[in-house]
Amino acid sequence: MVRRIDRDQQRFDKIIKGKVRQQLRKYINHGEMLGRKGRETVSIPVPNIEIPHFQHGEKGSGGVGQGEGEVGQPVGRGKSEGDGQGQAGNERGQHIREVEMSLEELADMLGEALELPRIEPKGDDALTSQKDRYTSIRPTGPDSLRHFKRTYKRALRRMIASNNYDPRDPTIVPTRDDERFRSWKTVNEPHTNAAVIYMMDVSGSMTDVQKEIVRTEAFWIDTWLKRQYDGIERRYVVHDAVAHEVDEDTFYRVRESGGTRISSAYRAADYIIKRDFPPALWNIYCFQFSDGDNWGEDNTECIESLKQNLFPVCNLFCYGQVRSPYGSGDFIKELRKVEEEFDNLILSEIEDKEGIYGSIKTFLGTGK
């Protein structure tokens, strides 16, 4: 039975999620979700939605309290919280509500908000893989698939119905008929492979703010791509004058310094692709982030490397240039020169945190 309160709660949930949708840009730009990764759901703080009333503000307000203290001694900042124990009061505290959402839901919201097209995968459409999904219940099956809760419930129901249930001795013994088992259906799913290579410049000229921008953007791109592809493989490269392949955790945490040689990252990416992702079978995405402050002579080598190795095999090659307080940051100019030739090259300049949202749209708005 659906309880009244469930309907009201679902409605509330919907309203709250509407708020999240409205404020998505803020959440994305300010990286509120970072550091909450690794779980299926994230908790997002949303301001308590309240019905406005004519009510007193703080100016001129006050009250009466009990306890020790001299005149002039502070008794608390702003409106007080509940008193911990005791009955539920009728005064409301100032709570920040957290809403639990799955990353999928967020990705869908992002897609909707940015009007991102669904990605059309390349590769063999006929390639399908079979997958078992446990979606139903049946009365027979192996013990290992026994659904304990359902079995228990049926047994309990039977015992109550037959008046054999004694709350003082609540032992439930399921019989054969009570048992229920999970059961699966085999479904065919189109098999699409996608590989993403994230490259980040961690040289000395990249400040923490810039790195955070990169990480925030990478997180959202990742969330979106994960929603689009079933099995997505990710590789992470950080570089200064030399490149290193690192794991995801390191990518999101590392601090480095040193000079910059972007071509080193391209070589590393090329190496990874050759090693792990035969381009015929894989949709390959490269996202590179830098402040564009490359070591001058390296630029030629970069373009060469891109043309030779990366452009031919990538669905998309995205370069995001984060504005840096130092340096000239003109690598993007080099890429602009060849932008026309390669329609899988996408460029984006990210001024500051507020630019993340737009940059994501630039990168993913092509639907490739």
Binding site: I51, P74, E91
Partner: protein, 509 residues
């Protein structure tokens, strides 16, 4: 109609209930039949979210409240032990997880509430069949939802709830005589005015100054002007400011039938809940007084003592920046009982200035019990505090007043002086701590604008909320709305014209 989950009380608890009920009766408490039920926390939270009523109209805020109660409980921040509603019979819900001592305490506490509901004057006008009424409201709202669509009705409920506190909590107890001129009167008067000549009789030129003497004309004109002014004064609308803003809107706002019905429902429910806000300290104090009296004299077993002490002290816990109504209420009642037992009242006692004598004053009158029953019958929180708060009491309970220091955005202890504490307490209790707002003019600027007045008593409005509320008011009144208040110590008029907000200092008007 399903009002309860119809679970009979387990034997263990129904024995306790009967025992507690007997104690309560022996002490002279007088209550409607009280039906107890045991609920698990989820169910209890559900009831609490609906204000104690199993059937309410659908609205997200109940879901929000439920969500908050459940989260608060699962994080260990709060716990509801019991819930009781003012109906006849009274329904009371107990938490199944309470241990036996808790249940005893809570049952005794509930009988205190039930007695209070039945006997306190401020509850005398409440609908004791509110269960039916609430269910009826739910049916009506659901019907509107079927006809108008969910979101449309929900949005309108949001709007009404935003204004729900704009009622006149004293209205059920007094008849405000406000005889307005009937339509017929107005028409008759207008007809008379139309008939009257310009004051000048028809006359030949040379006769004019005799037939129409200047000074007579002048006098007539001035009389007429005066009459017109009186008339315009009488046409001022409303003639006297109106405290029950919701009722005013119901009468005069351009509402559709279903909207009028929804607003009526919100208003009815606001009036039903109003006395609970007006008597929080007394009601909780009274219930606590009786649970502690009954428990300490009859209910406690050796093994339950610690639990009782823990629960009771948790309920009575004070914090520096929030007054605990349970604590203040019970202490004041105990103080009154003691004073009336010892005869510490009346002119003789009041005029006594010898501190030693005052402190040891004991005429052994034994009037205490009788007195507190009288107090619970006639007072609300404001008159209760006004009449019975004493300097000795404030001192003994280490009370102080605090206020907001705008310069460092902190609440600070302001005073330990009796007069100031009392003043502060009364002002924070007045109108249940909400600003008092009147309809001043419904034809402001002669343009049908609504003009409200905030009765400024030293506390400014929360500005952003005020603006949002004005916007909601506008969606009902459908013409520009204004509220006169004080912002940054200056009389100010906030206006919302349907598109934008403006803030004008009043002098400029």
């Amino acid at each position: 109609m399903v009002v309860t989950t119809h679970r009979p009380l387990p034997k263990e608890l129904s024995d306790i209930q009967q025992e507690m009920e007997q104690h309560a009766l022996d002490y002279g408490l007088d209550f409607f039949k009280t039906i107890f039920e045991v609920l698990d926390y989820e169910e209890l939270s559900m009831f609490a979210a609906y204000g104690g009523f199993p059937i309410r109209y659908p609205h997200w805020r109940f879901g929000a409240q439920y969500d908050e109660l459940m989260k608060g409980y699962s994080y260990g921040l709060q716990k509801i032990y019991e819930m009781v509603i003012n109906t006849d019979p009274c329904y009371a819900y107990l938490l199944s997880a309470n241990d036996i001592t808790d249940q005893k305490l809570v049952i005794a506490h509930v009988y205190g509430h039930c007695d209070f509901f039945k006997n306190n004057a401020w509850f005398s006008h409440t609908n004791r069949k509110m269960l039916d009424q609430m269910a009826n409201h739910a049916t009506r709202v659901n019907r509107h939802i079927d006809e108008q669509g969910y979101e449309k009705v929900e949005t309108f409920i949001d709007t009404c709830l935003s204004l729900e506190s704009l009622i006149d909590p004293y209205a059920p107890h007094i008849r405000r005589t406000q005889k307005s001129e009937s339509k017929a009167d107005t028409q008759r008067r207008r007809a008379e005015d139309a008939e009257s000549t310009g004051g000048r009789f028809p006359a030949k030129n040379y006769m004019d100054r005799y037939i129409n003497p200047e000074d007579a004309l002048e006098e007539e004109a001035s009389q007429k002007r005066q009459k017109a002014m009186e008339l315009s004064d009488q046409l001022k609308f409303p003639k006297e400011r109106v405290r029950d803003v919701l009722f005013f809107l119901l009468q005069y706002a351009p509402l559709e039938d279903w909207q009028r019905d929804v607003l009526t429902i919100i208003r009815d429910e606001a009036y039903y809940f109003a006395p609970q806000g007006q008597t929080k300290i007394m009601n909780e104090g009274w219930a606590s007084f009786w649970h502690s009296t009954i428990m300490t004299r009859h209910g406690l077993t050796d093994e339950g003592l610690i639990n009782y002490a823990d629960h009771h002290s948790g309920t009575m816990a004070t914090s520096p920046n929030r007054l605990n109504p349970y604590k203040l209420g019970i202490e004041l009642l105990k103080d009154i009982e003691e004073r009336w037992n010892k005869g510490q009242f009346g002119p003789e006692y009041d005029n006594c200035t010898d501190m030693y004598e005052r402190e040891h004053w004991d005429k052994d009158l034994g009037l205490g019990r009788e007195k507190i029953f009288e107090v619970r019958r006639i007072h609300n929180d404001i008159t209760f505090i006004d009449t019975f708060l004493t300097p000795e009491f404030c001192y003994k309970n280490r009370m102080f007043s605090f206020g907001f220091n705008d310069s460092n955005k902190t609440y600070e202890i302001q005073s330990r002086e009796f007069q100031q504490i009392k003043q502060q307490l009364l002002s924070s209790l007045s109108n249940h701590g909400r600003p008092v707002i009147y309809v001043q003019d419904a034809n402001y600027k002669n343009r049908g604008e609504l003009y409200l007045e905030h009765e400024y008593l030293g506390i400014e409005l929360k500005l952003d909320y005020a603006q949002d509320t004005l916007a909601n008011l506008h969606s009902i009144w459908k013409r520009p709305v204004n509220i006169e208040t004080v912002v940054d110590d200056r009389p100010t008029i906030l206006n919302y014209d349907g598109k934008k907000h403006s803030t004008n200092s009043k002098e400029k008007q």
